[in-house]
Amino acid sequence: MIVKDVVSDVLLGMAVLVVAGASLGVLLMRDAYQKLHFVTPAALAAPALVALAVLVQAGWYENTGETFLALVIMAAAGPFVSHATVRAIRIREKGDWRLQRINGPSGRAPRGARER
């Protein structure tokens, strides 16, 4: 019983440290691209540690399954959200997400340009 408590407390402490460090990273980084790197630890590593802590504390139980379900949803959704966020920020800044515009001002691709 005591071993379970100690292990779950250690896992929870690691999760809190991950979130605190990532939060400081979000605060201290210069622009949104750099800040976005610190969302992943809080969206993936910390939930995994918390799910492990719940597993250690409660064992394989309905609650543990739902915690892991939330973890799986966050792990699956995270890359899509990050990509969409970077794309939106770049479009706001540059007008287009690509390095160079393929289409000219008329909206047509210039002769010889490859379609991507």
Binding site: S8, A32, A70, I73
Partner: protein, 84 residues
């Protein structure tokens, strides 16, 4: 009540204060990133509180918020891309 889980939830709520500062003070892109960060942490906090207070019914809230976080973030960044 499991004290370790409740204490971790409180510590995580305190840990999102720097991200909340970014949410309030940064430009739109930085604010969106801070919003995604805070939403992710709130999912964890809900799971911690559910385990801390030993309420099985409350474990549905983090699952729901994780799903809603995905949809709302995509809608929000699309709106930021076009209109904000």
């Amino acid at each position: 009540m499991v004290m370790g889980f409740v204490a971790a939830a409180i510590a995580m709520l305190a840990a999102i204060i720097p991200a909340a500062i970014v949410l309030c003070r940064a430009d739109v892109g930085g604010s969106v990133v801070a919003y995604e960060f805070i939403t992710s942490v709130i999912v964890i906090v809900l799971a911690l509180l559910a385990q801390g207070f030993q309420r099985s019914g409350l474990f549905e809230l983090p699952v729901l918020l994780a799903v809603l976080m995905y949809g709302s973030s995509l809608v929000f960044v699309r709106a930021m891309e076009r209109w904000l």
